[in-house]
């Protein structure tokens, strides 16, 4: 009964809460969202922060230069125990403010540009087709994460970075170990293993310069007194390897589940392949796979719509809830591949699944392309795909972190 939490805080909403359905937030989040755009919530360590559920407020705050993403600051909130691990502070790009953020992000921009992504599409279609060939050859049932959802982004990011795909079992397991760790110690152990692995890989690239991939290119730019130190490069490699596959693989998995559970929407998508890009953004909105658009700390007092965020206070933007703000998305809990209607092709991109402001996801166009190819090829080649277990039997990840399923048994 004697907890260090002040009485007032006990009445606060406890963050995070688990989903009860793979693509919908908990009813607790829903009630919170109905109460207004900003809320005080209580974290695991007894500290309280702001949770933003209003779309307009989230965009304003995430684009506000007074909000810092610097995870090495003492006042930066650790919203989950694992985020207290030293490996996360400072995590490259995502955890830096300008000017360092902008310098590193621009170094990577050419590799993740729309043009680059379009050029990669053919090879992604080819590898995806081969994965389906293998599944069909083995016959049902299949475990869709291992056989399809994970190898696609994992192969793509390995190829792009120049990390040997042969090591995939290792880096995939350590990534899940880092991102799903229940404690800071476990996260640190998994993160250090990845760090040491990348350190060796970069050493090899230093010995043999001129190889393929982003990391080889950046090895040539390392300058201990300049904009990219060797340690910066290692941090960037870690961030890209982490950011590049778990998110996208779980988005493929939960996207498949969502489509299978909405057969009319899946039929609409099949009937008109032109809606594919809009359908992918609608899935990104619904599933909100990271659950969170971003975490920041205010460096000055910020007034927003009658609320005052004090300097030093933490702010968490919920993508699951801002993506269900009825001001922007009418009937927000409904999954509708035609939501963008006849409007501009890009209008479905208003969701905050990739964040907003200068930190908006670097890999978003790559992720969108992978998702388009993954859904199109799978449902084209295996039209009678279905879950091999009941929906409520799927082993789901807990709240507040990367959402997803541990396994996804399917048959046809």
């Amino acid at each position: 009964m004697t907890t260090p939490i002040p009485t007032e805080d006990k009445r606060l909403f406890a963050y995070p809460q688990d989903r009860s359905c793979p693509w919908q937030p908990s009813s607790g989040y829903r009630e919170l969202g109905e109460r207004g755009p900003l809320h005080r919530v209580r974290l695991w360590d007894g500290k309280s922060i702001w949770m933003v559920t209003g779309h307009a407020q989230a965009r304003r705050l995430l684009a506000d230069p007074r909000m810092s993403a610097d995870r090495s600051r003492d006042d930066f909130p650790a919203v989950l125990p694992r985020l207290d691990a030293p490996i996360f502070k400072p995590i490259a790009i995502i955890g830096f403010d300008p000017p360092v953020h902008d310098i590193h992000r621009r170094m990577l921009a050419p590799d993740f540009s729309l043009k680059q992504v379009r050029a990669l599409r053919g090879s992604v279609e080819e590898l995806t087709g081969k994965l389906v060939d293998d599944m069909l050859r083995k016959g049902p049932p299949a475990e869709l994460i291992e056989d399809y959802a994970l190898p696609i982004p994992s192969m793509v990011i390995s190829e792009l970075l120049g990390v040997p795909y042969d090591d995939h079992a290792f880096f995939e397991a350590k990534t899940v170990g880092l991102l799903q760790a229940k404690s800071a110690q476990d996260a640190e152990a998994a993160g250090r293993a990845l760090w040491d692995y990348l350190d060796e890989l970069i050493t090899a690239k230093e010995r043999e310069p001129g190889g393929e991939g982003v990391l080889s290119r950046l090895v040539g730019r390392v300058d201990e007194d300049g904009d990219l130190t060797r340690e910066d490069l290692l941090r960037i490699a870690l961030a890209l390897l982490l950011g590049g596959h778990d998110t996208t693989s779980q988005m493929i998995a939960l996207g498949v589940v969502t489509l299978l559970e909405h057969p009319h929407q899946l039929a609409a998508l099949r009937a008109d392949p032109g809606v594919l890009p809009a359908a992918v953004d609608e899935l990104l909105r619904m599933v909100s796979v990271t659950d969170v658009s971003g975490v920041r700390v205010a460096t000055e007092d910020i007034e927003i719509d009658g609320y005052v965020i004090r300097a030093g206070e933490g702010v968490l933007v919920s993508s699951s809830m801002t993506n269900r703000d009825p001001e922007v998305f009418p009937d927000p809990y409904r999954f509708d591949v035609h939501r963008a209607g006849g409007r501009n092709a890009a209008s479905g991109r208003h969701h905050l699944t990739f964040g907003f402001g200068i930190h908006q996801c670097l890999g978003q166009n790559l992720a969108r392309m992978e998702l388009e190819v993954a859904f199109a090829v799978l449902f084209d080649r295996i039209p009678d795909l279905r879950l091999a277990v009941p929906l409520d039997g799927l082993p789901t990840r807990s709240g507040g972190t990367m959402q997803g399923v541990h396994t996804l048994p399917v048959e046809w």
Binding site: A109, N344, A345, S347, R349, G355, I358, Q360, L362
Partner: protein
Amino acid sequence: MKVTADRRRCMAAGHCAISAPTVFDHGEDGLVVVLDADPGEDAREAVETAEDLCPSRAIAVETAGTERVPAR
């Protein structure tokens, strides 16, 4: 309508070239390039979508009426 894009703010998210491909493109560095700085009114919805989606507030649209476009 007059359209400008600030390359110092651009984070290469690519929304502009998707929303309004006749008005925006990207350079080799991945950053925004304005193809048509004075598009016709028929491009308005597309350009405004790009302005609205741009996460780093790099795109500005000068609307006739709020700002008088000088005669060339």
